[in-house]
Every structure is written in structure tokens, then in C-alpha cells.
């Protein structure tokens, strides 16, 4: 066997070995009087099996708030999160589900979402992602798709965001940043010239903690487009509603 080939085989073996190690399901101990197993990951699916206290079961996977469980007799079914909270590790500790819920809303670090609104009269589709350095301050990257009657464009901005009272359910925030905007007049117009400009913005908004790991956001930005002409252009940007989640 040639050397690269044997190396490749070794690598594949290594990877399959590690994959198998990862695949080993997690064992837990039932601490509730019993837990009910549903046929599917949803409250509407019928209960078809019950596992009583003291039995050890394996968690195979998780989908949203439902856990697929295999009993020592090989029965597989889905149990809800509320029942899983009461289960124990084999060591006797409560099972840690690493849940981004209200109680660790404050320790959120990464955030992403989608917003829709209006950019100087044009429709706006916006996606953003952010990382929080501290409870108040985070850095945020936003990508906008601007769809107007006379022109289309994209913009990408990087900015700082300061949340005034992060522990409140509804909190105002302030944002400031800069980026680039690319504008392309519609092909039906006569004077057709694509433009690349720098953009700066200042704005504010409200974020509303919805539930579990979800937030709603609403934002206003005052943009200044540093055009190559004599005048800078000011554009109001309203993001009426956005949906965000953190993890």
C-alpha cells in the first residue's frame, strides 16, 4: 500500500472511531415517578410507553424541546423538556440541558436574526449577527438588501450596539457604525450607473425578550451616505419588526 493511501485509511479509521465515540448516547436516570414517551416530538403525538423512576435510559437526540429516548429494553420514544429537567445524570446530579432560557438570558453571547422595513422609501430585508462583549455592549454585522422602485442595492455595516438595561424584558438600545452600500439603478431607467459608497449610521431601537431564546426587535437608523458628489445623502432606515434568537 502506498504511503498516502495508508495515511488516508488511517485518517478515515480515526474519524470513524471518533464519530463512534461521539455517537455513544448519553445515559440518564429517571427521577420523576414516571415519564411518558410519545410517538413523536410534539404534544399531540400519543403516549405509548411509560418509564418508571430509577430506570436508566439513553438520550439519542433532541429536537426543539423534545428528547428521543431509548430504554434498556430498546423502546424508543420522545419525552418533553419539562420531564427531562427532573432526570438525573448517572452520578446523581440533575441533568444539565444547557438551555438558553430566561435564566441565562443575561449570559447570552451570540445573537442572530432577520428584520424587515423601509430604507428611504425602498423595501428592506435585513439579516444580522452579533457578539456581546459584556452585558451591555456588542458588535453587530448587518447585511441589507434594499429593493426600491428605481434602484436596488446591498449594504453591509459593522457597528457597536449598547443595550441600556439588558436585564429588562423590554430594553432600548443605541447603535453606531459604518459600512458600505452598493446601489444599482433599475434596468428600466435611462441613466444607469452602479455606485459603491461608504455609509455611516447612528440609531436606536427596542429589543423585547419573547420567550426561551427568542427576541423581537425594532430599530431606526439615520444613515449618511458619503457619495462622490458634492452633497452627502441622508437616508432614514426603519426596521419595523425583526426576529432574533440568541445562543
Amino acid at each position: 500500500m502506498s504511503r498516502p493511501l495508508s495515511l488516508l485509511v488511517l485518517l478515515v479509521l480515526l474519524f470513524t472511531a471518533s464519530a463512534q465515540a461521539d455517537d455513544e448516547p448519553r445515559k440518564i436516570l429517571i427521577a420523576d415517578p414516571f415519564i411518558e414517551l410519545h410517538t413523536g416530538p410534539g404534544r399531540g403525538y400519543p403516549v405509548f410507553h411509560v418509564v418508571e423512576r430509577g430506570r436508566e435510559v439513553y438520550i439519542i437526540k433532541r429536537r426543539t424541546d423534545w428528547f428521543q429516548i431509548r430504554t434498556d429494553r430498546g423502546v424508543e420514544g420522545w419525552a418533553p423538556r419539562e420531564q427531562m429537567i427532573a432526570t438525573l445524570e448517572p452520578t446523581g446530579e440533575p441533568l444539565d440541558l444547557e438551555e438558553p432560557a430566561r435564566e441565562n438570558y443575561m449570559s447570552r453571547r451570540w445573537q442572530g436574526g432577520v428584520m424587515a422595513g423601509d430604507f428611504g422609501g425602498a423595501s428592506l430585508v435585513s439579516a444580522f449577527g452579533g457578539y456581546a462583549f459584556s452585558d451591555n455592549l456588542s458588535i453587530e454585522l448587518t447585511v441589507n438588501h434594499i429593493l426600491g422602485e428605481f434602484s436596488n442595492g446591498y449594504s453591509a455595516t459593522l457597528g457597536l450596539m449598547h443595550v441600556f438595561v439588558p436585564e429588562w424584558r423590554i430594553s432600548p438600545y443605541f447603535t453606531l457604525g459604518t459600512g458600505v452600500i452598493y446601489t444599482k439603478p433599475k434596468s428600466t431607467l435611462v441613466q444607469v450607473e452602479d455606485r459603491d459608497d461608504q455609509i455611516g449610521y447612528v440609531g436606536g431601537g427596542l429589543q423585547f425578550y419573547l420567550t426561551r431564546r427568542f427576541m423581537l426587535r425594532s430599530e431606526y437608523r439615520n444613515n449618511v451616505i458619503f457619495t462622490s458628489r458634492d452633497d452627502n445623502e441622508e437616508v432614514d432606515e426603519w426596521k419595523y419588526l425583526g426576529f432574533a434568537f440568541f445562543f
Partner: protein, 236 residues
């Protein structure tokens, strides 16, 4: 003879008492002093393992617990094939990809990208004159970011022994459509039906309406482009 035996015994006893003493020196601990044993036991004391190790060792090794992460399968990636009817421009096969993230058992976010090719308008066919669009402009590509609600989750039964999880969902979103050389803000909505033959595979049937403004034929108007597609996706 007598003298040398006593001397040997004395030397052994000396060794037995001083050697552990040296060890004590090094540790500086307060182990019980060694008895100056008579010759018969003194040799045993030399060969014995350190007598100062306690019967119960309180230093318990901390167990290394490596917990396997729970495999979360909230993402869904798939592809679909269907028919998209472009208003004024015939119906054609549409191909697309889908990425969904299931937030809860009821709600999910979905991003779709689809592509098709517009046909010819009736006007172009009848008049036989110049085409309204060149071939490049007949490319029709859209993306939609939507939110879906599993309105009717349930099971379907095939035969006597098979039950598959399913859901009927409503979905709506916003996005953009690139057609005739321009991007247009698009509102999209519809419904779909999802059946899971296994826990990780889903079969979708979807109907969508893509609505946007277009001024291609002179006057601005709202167009409704209906799409029906069949798709496969996997959970990961």
C-alpha cells in the same frame, strides 16, 4: 562467637531503628516511633513496606466524567423540484434548496432559494415580433426568509402497522425575486405538508404564492406567481 552474634543483632537493631528514622527526617512527619525491636522481629521490620501509610487514604481520585453532548437536530436541509407559474411568462420547472431551523415544536424559520426560467408571453408568440426579454433576463431566481407554523401536527397511517409523523404548516415570509434583470421585493406565503418517513428524513409538499410589483410591460402591476413543489430534506 557469642560476642559476634550479639554484635550482629545489635547492628541489625541499630539499622532498624535509624533507617526509618532517616525516612522520618525527610518527611518531617510525626509517625509513631519505631520500637527498638528484638533481633527476631527487627529483620521483619526492615523488609516490611512503610508502616506509616494510613489504613484509609482520604485522597479520593476525582473521577473524570466526560458527558457526551446531546445530539440536537433542529436544522433541516433539503432540495425541491416543482412548477412555478410566472404571470404572463408560462409555467416552468423550478429547482430550489431549503434550510430550516426549528425554534420550537410549533414554529420554524425557513430560508429558500429557487431558480427557474421564464417562458414566452402570449404576446410574443402571437405577434411574432421582437422578444420582450433576452435569454439572460428570463432567469428567474428568488429567495425567501419565512416563518412557519406547524398548524396541524399529526400522524398518517399507511396500512395497519405503519404510522408516520406529519405536519400541515402555514408559512409566510419576505424576500427578493430577480427577474428581467432587476431585484424585486417579494412577499411570499402558502402552506405545506411534511411527512417524516424516519426521524431524520422529511418529505415536503408545498404550495406558495410569490407576490411582487412589476412594471416590465409599461404599467406597474402586482403579479402572483404560484409555485407547487415536492421536496426532500434531512434533519441534522
Amino acid at each position: 562467637m557469642e560476642v559476634s552474634r550479639i554484635r550482629v543483632l545489635f547492628l541489625i537493631a541499630l539499622c532498624a531503628s535509624t533507617l526509618p528514622g532517616c525516612a522520618l527526617f525527610g518527611r518531617g512527619g510525626d509517625a509513631p516511633p519505631e520500637a527498638v525491636a528484638p533481633a527476631a522481629t527487627a529483620s521483619d521490620a526492615l523488609g516490611e513496606p512503610a508502616a506509616d501509610s494510613p489504613i484509609i487514604d482520604p485522597r479520593v481520585e476525582r473521577r473524570e466524567i466526560r458527558r457526551t453532548r446531546i445530539d440536537t437536530e433542529d436544522f433541516e436541509l433539503g432540495a425541491y423540484v416543482g412548477i412555478l407559474s410566472i404571470e404572463d411568462f408560462e409555467s416552468n420547472a423550478v429547482y430550489g434548496a431549503r434550510l430550516a431551523y426549528h425554534l420550537t415544536e410549533d414554529f420554524f424559520l425557513e430560508g429558500t432559494v429557487g431558480h427557474t426560467q421564464a417562458g414566452r408571453t402570449s404576446y410574443e408568440n402571437l405577434s411574432g415580433s421582437a422578444d420582450l426579454l433576452d435569454d439572460d433576463d428570463r432567469d428567474y431566481t428568488y429567495y425567501v426568509l419565512s416563518m412557519g407554523w406547524n398548524a396541524l401536527p399529526g400522524e398518517i397511517f399507511i396500512g395497519k402497522n405503519r404510522a408516520y409523523n406529519s405536519a400541515f404548516y402555514l408559512i409566510a415570509g419576505i424576500g427578493s425575486t430577480r427577474f428581467a434583470g432587476d431585484d424585486r421585493f417579494t412577499v411570499s406565503g402558502g402552506f405545506g405538508y411534511r411527512v417524516l418517513p424516519t426521524d431524520w428524513l422529511a418529505v415536503h409538499f408545498d404550495v406558495r404564492d410569490h407576490v411582487f410589483d412589476i412594471d416590465l410591460l409599461g404599467k406597474k402591476k402586482i403579479v402572483n406567481n404560484l409555485e407547487a413543489h415536492l421536496g426532500l430534506s434531512i434533519f441534522f
